[in-house]
């Protein structure tokens, strides 16, 4: 039975490889997962947002967001709280539908894909998830195979699922965690396992909603390093501008549901733009080693944050002297 499968898979592989001699890697990927539809991939590779708009109960969440994210690049999705980052990620993932505008992935309009088909191409990591039952790491990663199981008899079979799950864990360097229970993992380990789950979906697009939340600085850096190392087209909602500057090829900066700026970190992360969107002052200096922009914030009105009166006594003193002459 499994030998039959293997044979079928290898014929699919070889057929793929001959039909598309320029991208053997694609053949290997699609041969294992689902029928190739690369005629569309050739049209417009990557992610194309075109005028994405969304309103919920009369409140405008997103308004005409357009951007083109080339394949294999890492894009940071930035903006203040409530700017629409999570909503945009959900629309890109095909979970929510936009009121107007489209998201296209490799030439296919995401909103028109069947859910399972979308789930085979796009993986989403939410922030702060917890399972309702205590799963092992292996079981969590295997969840990523659900969109690849057949609809009717999906509860049976899935022999190769385990191999894919092991591969995915290997890619994030978490094979040693395979038998651990989810609740025993650190925050950074949980995120790595979630990325492995996402990789088990064999996506061409990886979406992460504030993946560095609640992680210590070392875990934040290694997580983003890992995401970059995957080579997948990735979109990350982030709060930390410096992490975005260090790890992203492009920045989508949202403000009140509108696209405030789009471009490379150096183009987007400028003092005037940051002032306009976040209302804070900053200076941009080049990173001493990488040369990438580093944002150095200053207190309101450009003052040194420590120069402000902090202690209650000081505040009372200044208050007395100014307001009660």
């Amino acid at each position: 039975m499994s030998a039959e499968r293997a044979t079928a898979a290898s014929t699919a592989d070889s057929r793929d490889a001959t039909s598309r001699p320029f991208s053997a890697g694609q053949g290997a990927a699609t041969g294992n997962s689902h029928p190739p539809d690369d005629s569309r991939a050739a049209l417009t590779a990557g992610v194309v947002l075109d005028g994405v708009s969304l309103s919920i109960e009369g409140t405008r969440i997103l308004q005409g967001v357009s951007a083109t994210l080339p394949p294999g690049t890492v894009t940071g999705l930035l903006g203040p709280n409530g700017a629409g980052k999570s909503s945009l990620l959900r629309i890109i993932a095909g979970i929510d539908r936009a009121d107007a505008g489209t998201v296209a992935l490799d030439g296919a309009v995401v909103g028109q894909l069947r859910r399972r088909e979308a789930a085979r191409r796009i993986a989403l990591l939410e922030q702060n998830v917890a399972p309702s039952v205590d799963l092992s790491v292996r079981e969590v990663v295997l969840l990523g195979r659900i969109p690849h199981r057949s609809r009717l008899l999906g509860s049976f079979g899935g022999e190769d699922d385990l191999a894919v799950a092991t591969e995915a864990l290997t890619m994030v360097g978490a094979t040693d965690l395979v038998d651990r229970r989810w609740h025993t993992l650190s925050g950074g380990q949980q995120q790595r396992v979630q990325i492995a789950r996402a990789l088990a979906q064999r996506p061409s697009l990886l979406l992460l909603d504030e993946p560095t939340n609640h992680l210590d600085v070392s875990a934040q850096l290694s997580l983003l390093h890992q995401v970059r190392g995957l080579g997948l087209t990735s979109v990350l909602a982030l709060h930390d501008l410096n992490l975005a500057a260090a790890y992203c090829d492009h920045i989508v900066l949202l403000q009140g549901g509108r696209l405030a700026a789009f471009g490379t970190p150096a183009e987007v992360l400028r003092p005037d733009t940051i002032r306009a969107v976040y209302g804070v002052d900053c200076d941009i200096v080049p990173h001493p080693r990488t040369g990438r922009p580093v944002i150095v914030f200053s207190g309101p009105d450009g003052r040194d944050a420590t120069s402000r009166p902090l202690s209650a006594g000081q505040a009372a003193a200044t208050g007395n002297s100014h307001q009660h002459p």
Partner: protein, 380 residues
Amino acid sequence: MTVTPSRQGLGTVLPSGSAAPGGSGSPGASAAPARARRSGTARYLVWLVAALVALVLGSAVAVTIGPADVSLAQVWGSVAGHLGLPGLAGDTPVPPLTDAIVWQLRMPRVLTAAMVGAGLALSGAVMQSVTRNPLADPYLLGLSSGASLGAVCVVILGIGFALPAAAFAGALIALFATLNIARVGGSITPGRAVLAGLAIAQLGSAGTSFIIFWAAKGDSYREILNWLLGSLAGSSWSSVLISAVALAVVGTGILLAASRLDAFTFGDTNAASLGINVNATRWGFLVAVALLTGAMVAVSGAIGFVGLILPHLVRGLSGPGHRRLLPLVAVVGALFLVLADTLARTVFDPRELPVGIITAFIGVPVFILLIKRNRSAAWA
């Protein structure tokens, strides 16, 4: 093309090796988890087979237990005779009275108990998954008492053939009511669901009692108790038929879709990102549970704690994956209710207890133990 192909899979990334600091691509590394998995599968199959054997033996022994002495050989002889297998029935013919006790009284009762136990345990496991609520169960969320109310209504009206349909309708209405009361701002918290279920269950029980008091003649107390606490005393071959058909049809559907239940583990958004149509899938499962519960309540009344306790216990043996959990929980549920019903009709012989008293006596301590052991947020 200098950029990486966008439709990139693991196959292209893996050989680079740079992304796998802690892992190794050697066959040994991947074979070890695979072996562990296989031994896990073997262990699961042992549990499943053991549970099935225990169910068959337990049911056979349960048929022998009762006021009239019946031997296992006589049970076998009677069953073989009725199934048209006289060649296997043995040499000594079964006395007609014993044959009647086995085939007309005890067999239907034991089989109904098995079907109802399996159905309720399945219902609980499914509800706990799609509501992400470890306390979800048809009894606690009011479905069972809604089904009882529906069933009692048609019994009083004298249209007994509509019993399962009315019980299903009652379960469905109770389910809608509970979930609507529990919903705040679009999300349902486990605690609110249980509180809402409590209210609906009380209302259904009161309605059931009221209708029986109002309409019944003679000893209505026993009848009320049987509907509210559950009893298999009235089981006949038609009860077996109703519960078996419901279990076969709905249970098969649930088993085929079991993999989709796993997708709910990390919540709705995660399920949606795994390609699940969350609302349609959830309601599909919930309506299936209402159907199953309705059929079971129609033949046995509202039996509590089977759907609540057994999924938690069986997860310890099968793991949380529903492809393994559901078959095992159904078999263990069947075994549990066969044993509980045997206790119910023998412990205080000649008096007979509603089986729900036994399931509560066993279920509540187990439940308390589970509460003490699980301090995770999901139980808050």
